[in-house]
């Protein structure tokens, strides 16, 4: 049941400008199996967003290859992505924002709304289908954006710091809920984040990126079954990995500072 869904094979990305070349990604390899939850964690400015754009097929790597295995609709991208900003359209109601991907993909509006209606309770949005985005709380907005992403039923979900702008309690609430949702629906997910507990709690595997140019410095397997109870935060595995990651990520930060000086 665990066949690879996406393989990233030694990709590098170099931006060329008048001022010269900037290498952002250096020989990055990772893979996602079907039904797996994989996180990519790295310091800010490490090129996470560039990696994200490449995985979303919006940007081509300078070298290396991204291979997708599985069915994809003709011409459609392999993955559905959720950007950092929720990008809800202020002129669309919750149901129309959520069905945007379906409608733009060619589905009739009525049919799309019906599909959304079935999923609203799961996304804790029941009764809010006619609300406009400005009438929603931050957590609700993220759930609408996530619903819009999930309902496209692409083989892979890409989440770029989806909870970064939320307060601590709302973020934790959504992380717990997302853990349940992904496990229940067997979603295959790549989560890009700089939140260490979030990555450890949600993922089967965590890739740790170095500072720019980003390389994979470390891969942490998280074998515990998902979804995990809150008590997972007290396990030796979690605390040890959290400590290791903190050391790793801040150490590379220090090294970067000495390099610059």
């Amino acid at each position: 049941m665990t066949r690879p869904l996406m393989e990233v094979d030694g990709i590098s990305k170099t931006y060329t400008s008048r001022l010269g070349e900037t290498k952002v990604l250096d020989n990055i390899s990772l893979h996602v199996d079907e039904g797996e939850f994989v996180s990519v964690i790295g310091p800010s400015g490490s090129g996470k967003s560039t990696l994200f754009s490449i995985l979303a097929e919006q940007l081509a790597p300078t070298s290396g290859e991204v291979r997708f295995h599985g069915d994809r609709d003709r011409g459609a991208p392999f993955s559905a992505y959720m950007p950092q900003k929720d990008l809800l359209m202020p002129w669309l109601t919750v149901q129309d924002n959520a069905s945007l991907g379906l409608v733009l993909g060619g589905m009739r509006r009525r049919e799309a709304r019906m599909r959304i209606a079935e999923l609203l309770p799961t996304f804790r949005l029941a009764g809010r289908e006619k609300a406009y985005p400005f009438e929603l709380s931050g957590g609700m907005r993220q759930r609408v954006a996530l619903l819009r992403t999930v309902v496209q039923e692409r083989p892979l979900l890409l989440l770029d710091e989806p909870f970064g702008a939320l307060d601590y309690l709302t973020r934790t609430e959504l992380q717990l809920w997302l853990a349940d949702l992904c496990a229940q629906q067997g979603l295959s997910v790549v989560l890009i984040t700089h939140d260490i507990p979030e990555a450890l709690f949600l993922s089967d595997r965590v890739y740790v990126l170095s500072n720019r140019p980003a390389t994979v410095r470390m891969v942490l397997e998280q074998p515990a079954a998902r979804p995990r109870p809150l008590s997972y935060l007290e396990t030796d595995q979690f605390t040890r990995d959290e400590r290791r990651l903190l050391a790793e990520l801040t150490e590379s930060g220090k090294r970067h500072l000495t390099d610059a000086a």
Binding site: E57, Q58, L87, W91, G101, L104, G105, Y132, F134
Partner: protein, 284 residues
């Protein structure tokens, strides 16, 4: 993206930035009442002051007629004024329609073709800078005395605010949102309709509002050279007869047309932007 456009609308709209749940919200309906009543009071006060000054100063009515006199002689000449108003209104409305259609076409094309932007936009601004008083006789020489040339003339000289605001609105759409829609399978045209147009609407309505404030004047000027009927012709004739009271009567009619058009843009906004309607209702 959206907060930006919303702020911009608010500058021209009358709603003061107030937040839901603030103490202001409680007195909301009173605020609405005063927004309508206070300008009316100002107008009444001004008219009163005017009347009193003319009465007390014993001013020659051919220099400054009193409001009452303007009303009485306007009423007496109402048939003539109505005929003139109908003609001017036709030019105004058709010119407005022409301006809207041209602005939508031009702004849409320019939003798709960046190189054209640099080429066409200066020309539009140049067209706006040529005084209508110069253009009007030229248009009559070129195209004749019918209503058609006047409509085109009014349209051309007044289309700029809408064109610019619409273009700016179309281009201000969030590129990340465009990329997201692209990843969902939307074509460029679909992104235009589903993202750029709704983003542009609030700003475009502001442009339209600015247009309505001077389009009547443009229509009146277009009559100055070569029209048979119209408020402009009427004013010119009455001025030559020293019927200042009738000139003022015609001025009031043209003000009324302008204000009505201006108010209609709010109705249009209400109809086109249901989400803004709800947001303002919350803030009030």
């Amino acid at each position: 993206m959206t907060t930006q456009t919303i702020e911009r609308v608010r500058v021209v709209g009358t709603a003061a930035p107030a937040h839901a749940g603030s103490p202001r919200a409680a007195g909301g309906s009173g605020g609405m009442f005063w927004r309508i009543v206070s300008p009316l009071l100002a107008v009444v006060a001004l008219l009163g002051l005017w009347q009193i000054s003319v009465d007390l100063g014993e001013v020659d009515p051919t220099v400054v007629p009193s409001p009452v006199r303007v009303w009485e002689s306007g009423w007496a000449a109402s048939e003539q004024i109505a005929e003139a108003t109908a003609a001017t209104l036709q030019i105004t409305l058709m010119g407005l329609l022409f301006a809207i259609v041209s602005a939508v076409l031009v702004a849409s094309v320019l939003s798709f073709v960046p190189p054209l932007r640099q080429t066409i936009l200066p020309l539009l601004i140049a067209a706006q800078s040529v005084p209508i008083i110069v253009l009007a006789p030229l248009f009559i020489i070129w195209f004749g005395f019918e209503a058609g040339p006047k409509i085109v003339l009014v349209g051309i000289v007044s289309m700029l605010p809408l064109t610019i605001s619409l273009l700016q609105g179309l281009l201000s759409a969030d590129p990340d949102a465009a990329a997201l829609m692209g990843s969902m399978g939307a074509s460029r045209w679909r992104i235009f309709l589903s993202l750029r147009v709704p983003t542009a609407l609030p700003v475009a309505i502001t442009g339209l509002r600015i247009m309505t404030s001077f389009i009547v004047v443009a229509a009146i000027f277009s009559e100055y050279v070569g029209a048979r009927v119209g408020l402009g012709i009427f004013m010119q004739t009455q001025k030559n007869l020293y019927r200042t009271d009738l000139v003022f009567a015609a001025v009031f009619v043209s003000i009324a047309i302008g204000l009505t058009l201006f108010a209609l843009t709010y109705l249009l906004e209400w109809l086109l932007l249901p989400w803004e309607r709800r947001r303002k209702a919350v803030q009030r």
